[in-house]
Symmetry: C2
Subunit: 584 residues, 2 copies
Amino acid sequence: MKSDIQICRDTNLTPIDQIARQAGILPDDLTPQGTLKAKVKPSILKRLNDRQEGKLVLVTAITPTPLGEGKTVTTIGLAQGLAKINQSVMACIRQPSMGPVFGVKGGAAGGGYSQVAPMEKLNLHLTGDIHAVTAAHNLAAAALDARLYHEERHGYDAFADKTGLTPLRIDINRICWKRVMDHNDRALRMITVGNNEPGKTINGIARDDGFDISAASELMAILALSKDLADMRQRLGRIVLAYNLDGQPVTAEDLQVAGAMAVTMCEAIEPTLMQTLEGVPTLIHAGPFANIAHGNSSIIADRIALKLSDYTITEGGFGSDMGFEKACNIKAQQAERGPDCAVVVATLRGLKANSGCYDLRPGQALPDAIFSPDEKALLGGFANLKWHIRNAAKYGIPVVVAINRFPQDTDTELNLLKAWVSEEDFGCYVDVAISEAFGNGGEGAAELAQAVVSACQTPAQFKPLYSLDQSLEEKLMTVAEVGYGGRGVELSPQAKQQLAELKQQGHDNLAVCMAKTPLSITHDPSQKGAPTDFIVPIRELRLCAGAGFVYALCGNVMTMPGLPEKPAYMALDIDDDGNIIGLS
Amino acid sequence: MKSDIQICRDTNLTPIDQIARQAGILPDDLTPQGTLKAKVKPSILKRLNDRQEGKLVLVTAITPTPLGEGKTVTTIGLAQGLAKINQSVMACIRQPSMGPVFGVKGGAAGGGYSQVAPMEKLNLHLTGDIHAVTAAHNLAAAALDARLYHEERHGYDAFADKTGLTPLRIDINRICWKRVMDHNDRALRMITVGNNEPGKTINGIARDDGFDISAASELMAILALSKDLADMRQRLGRIVLAYNLDGQPVTAEDLQVAGAMAVTMCEAIEPTLMQTLEGVPTLIHAGPFANIAHGNSSIIADRIALKLSDYTITEGGFGSDMGFEKACNIKAQQAERGPDCAVVVATLRGLKANSGCYDLRPGQALPDAIFSPDEKALLGGFANLKWHIRNAAKYGIPVVVAINRFPQDTDTELNLLKAWVSEEDFGCYVDVAISEAFGNGGEGAAELAQAVVSACQTPAQFKPLYSLDQSLEEKLMTVAEVGYGGRGVELSPQAKQQLAELKQQGHDNLAVCMAKTPLSITHDPSQKGAPTDFIVPIRELRLCAGAGFVYALCGNVMTMPGLPEKPAYMALDIDDDGNIIGLS
C-alpha cells in the first residue's frame, strides 16, 4: 500500500470554494487560504440561526497504545461512509500539534484512504491558529514578568507616579501562568527565568518557571470553548495569571493585556475548512490534547457543522475516559448540546495490548507477537472494550463499536470480536461494525455508517455525569468513581490547600478537567484492561477561570512531552522538487 | 488627521489577484491568502529569467530616535510617488515582528497615507512566516537537548546500540544554539533549562540557555538570504548548533533535523504580496532587525520585484551604519547585486535629537522642545545627516536625501535644511527633496520620486566596503573604520579566542554582521551626531555558517528586547464589531 502522503498527493482534490458551496457555505462566509483550505467566519451562524441542527456523533476509543488506534481514520472514514450512503455529513477535528508530528506519533490527519487533505498542510502550520495561541499566551507571560520587574525596580509608589498605573503588587511566589511552545521539549518543563550576570538586574527577576505544550494551555481551551469573539474576549480577561501580595487574583484584564491577546487570536477563532480524500467538508479548529487538556475540537466548528449537515462527526482524544469524558462533562455543558451517538473504536492490537499478555514499556515499539492471531490475548483485552462501551452508555446515548481493521488483521479474529460484542448483553443500545476505512475509504466504512444512522434514530437522552452546581470535590469524585470506576480521589496536601482556596474564591461551580495518562483507565499507565479498586491521586489543581474549569493533575502526568531517541523528524525532508517527504 | 488604522480601513483596496495581474504575476505564480494577501511562488523567477532587471533603490536614514524617522513611510511613499509619475514600481519590505508591535515602537507598515494595507494583517501574523522561523528554530533546540539527554542517560555505547545512531557527544559547555520567541521578553534572555526535582533527571540536563527574539535568529537571516528552497535546505544543514567533546562542530545535518526544519519553513520561503494604500504591489518577506541581525528583506523578493518592475524600492533598518551597511556588504555580496541609488531619510526631530542640545534618555519620551523650531539645534544635528550622506556615497551610488515631513514641522525649517543639503559640496551625486508622503501619500512624494528617477540615470558603480576573501579581522576593522569612521575594533579575550577558532575552522571567508545600538553611529547610544575617535568593542563572535556571516556583538547590545513600563499592547483591543483598535 502507498504511504499516507503519497495517497494524499495522488488524489484529485476539489477546490475549497466548491467544497464550501456544496456544504452551504457562501462566498461571503469564507476566506480562502490558498485553493485547498479556507477560514469560515463564525458570523455564518447568524445566517443559519433558524436551521434545525443535525445529529452529533462523537467518536472515542478503547484504551489506546501510544501509536493510537485509528480514531481519526475512523472519524474521517465514517464521514466518508455516510456520504457514500447519501447522507449529508461534515467532520470536525482538531488541528494537529507539531509536538507529536515531530515526536513519536506522527501526523493526525487520519491515514490510508481516510485522510483530511492536504495532510501536510493540516499537520504543519495549517492557518496558524496554534501559533496565534502560542503568541497570545507568551505575550501575557512577557507582560507579567515585565510588570513584576518594573514595579520592583522602581518601587510601587514610584512606579505609580511614573506611569499613572496602579501597581499590581504581584506575589513572585504565586505566579500561575507558564509559557508555552508547540514542541515536545522536556528541557523546558522546569526552568529558571530572569537570570542575570552577577550584580546586574537588567534581565528581570529570577524565578522558577516552565513551558507547557501549547495544546495543554488554557488559551487553547478557551479557543475551543468560546461561543464567539466577544465571549473569547471576556474569557481572556478572566484568566488568572498570578496572585498579589494580598492573595487576590491578578487577571489578564488587570494587566491590560487581554485586549492584545484577543487581537492576536481574532483570526484563530475562525475554523478552517478542508476536505477528506473523498471530498467530505471538514472543519479543523483548536487542538487541545485529551490527556493534559480537554481534548476536543471547538464548539464553534460543531455549531456550524450541525447547522449545515444532518450528521456531524467529531472525536474526543484517546479513550472514553479521556476526551469523551471531557466532551460530555466540559464541552457539552458549556455548549448546552451533547452528542447523540457514541462510536467506540477498537482494534485487535489495541485490545491485545490491554490483555496483560505482553511486556509493554512506554517509549518502546509494540512486540511483533501482538500482530499475530491470539484468541486468548484478544479475549483478555475484550474486558477493556466492554468497559468503554458501558462507560459511553452511561451518558445516555447509543453506542456503536467500530472495529478498525489494520492491514495485517485476520478475518477470523475480526469476526470473532464482532460476534463477542453482538452476543454480550450490555443492557443498552450497542451495535458493532468492522471498518475498513483505512484501506477502502468511505466504501470500507459504509457498514459502520449504516449502523450510526440506525443508532441516531434511537430515542436517547444525553446526560453529563455531574452538574456544574455540585461542589468541586463532588465533581472530582464523580469522575473518578463513575467516570473511571475507581474508589475516589486522594488529594495531595498542595491540592487540598488549592481546593480550599478555589472554593473560597468562588470557583466551586467550575467543571473539572482531569490530566492523566491515556494509557490506562486509571492514573497508572501500567494498569491495562478494566481495573477496579483504585484511587486517583490528584497532586495539583490549577484554575482556568477563562476556560471555565479547574485542571486536576493526576499521578505523575506531565504537561510538556519530550522527544524520544529517534524522533519522527529524522525522516522528514524535502525532495529535489521541493515536495515534503517522510510525513505520516 | 485620522489614525493609521482608520485611514487604512477607510481606503478601498483592490483584490490581490488584480494587483498581481497588473504587476505581471500570473494566477499560477500565486497562492491567495484571503482577498488582500497572497504568497508568490519563487518559481516565478524561472519564467521571468530572460527579463531585464530594473533599478534597486535602497532607503536608509540618519541616526534615528527610538520612535524611528519614517523610513517605511518614505519607502512606501516613494513607491507611490513613482507610480504617480507613471513609473513601473514595486516595494519590498520586511514583515514586522510582534516584539515592537506590542512594545514601544508599534507597527511597521508605514503610516498616514503611505502604508501597506491592511496594516493589521501586516503587523500581526501576516502569512505566518515568522512563526515558521520560530518553530523551526525551536525544533532544532528541542532536538539538541533531547539528544544530549538520551546520549547521557544511556551512555554513548548503549545509545548507539539501542538506536543505531552514532553518538554526537555534544559538549554541554559549547552549545551555541539558543531558543527564540517573537516577543520582547527580557526574562528569557538568560535562563536555566532542564531543571529537575531533587534526585530526578526526567526533565533533561540542566544548563544555562536563553532566548533571542526571532528577528535576530540565524534562521531569519537564512530565510532572507537564500536564493531558493534548495539553497535554504543546504544552509539549514550547515548551521552549527554546538561543538562535540573533540571540539568539532555539531550541525543541524548531524542531528538529522535540517530536513524537518526545511519542511517547517517551506511556505515561509514564498514572499507575500500586498498593496500600498494607492495600490502599489509590495512584497513582504523575512523580518531581521537591523541592530541585532542583518536588517533587510529577502533576496528572493528583491529578485522578483526587479524582474517585474523598473524600480524596486527597499529599505535597510535604522541608519546607514546599520541595515544599509549590511545590505551592501552582506546581502548585496550574497545576491551578487547591489543597489543603484540610496535614499537617506532625515527628519527635523531626528536631526535635533542628534544635536546634543537635549537630554535624551533611552526608554523616555522625546522632550516637547524638540518639536519646536530651533535653527541652532537643527544645524547641530545636520552633521549627522552629512555623515550619512557621505557614508552612503562611499558605496559608489548616487544619494537622494528625503526630508520626511511630520505634521508639526514648519516650512521655514524644512526649506532651511533642504538648502543646507543643496549648498553643501559632498564631492558626489547628492540631491534632496521634501517628502510629504505621510500626509499626502504618493502625491506628497512625487518630487522625491522625480529626484530618484534622475539619480538612477546617473552612471554608478556599486562597491561593497570589503571583499569576502579578506580576513575576518580585516572585515571587522573595515566596518569600524570605513563603515563607522572609528579607529578600529577591540576584541574581548572571549572574542579573540572565538576569532582564532573561527579562522582555524575555515570560516575566514564569511561576511561580518555587526550587532550594535542603532541610536549612535558608534556602539554607545549616548554618542549622537557624527562622532570620531572611537574604538568599537566587540565582546563576542557567533558563527552563523548557514547565513554566511560571523555575528559580532558590540558594546552591551542585547539580542532579546524587553517591554517598557507602558507597552503598546495596553492600547490594543477589539471593539464590539470585532474590529481591531489601538494599532498604529
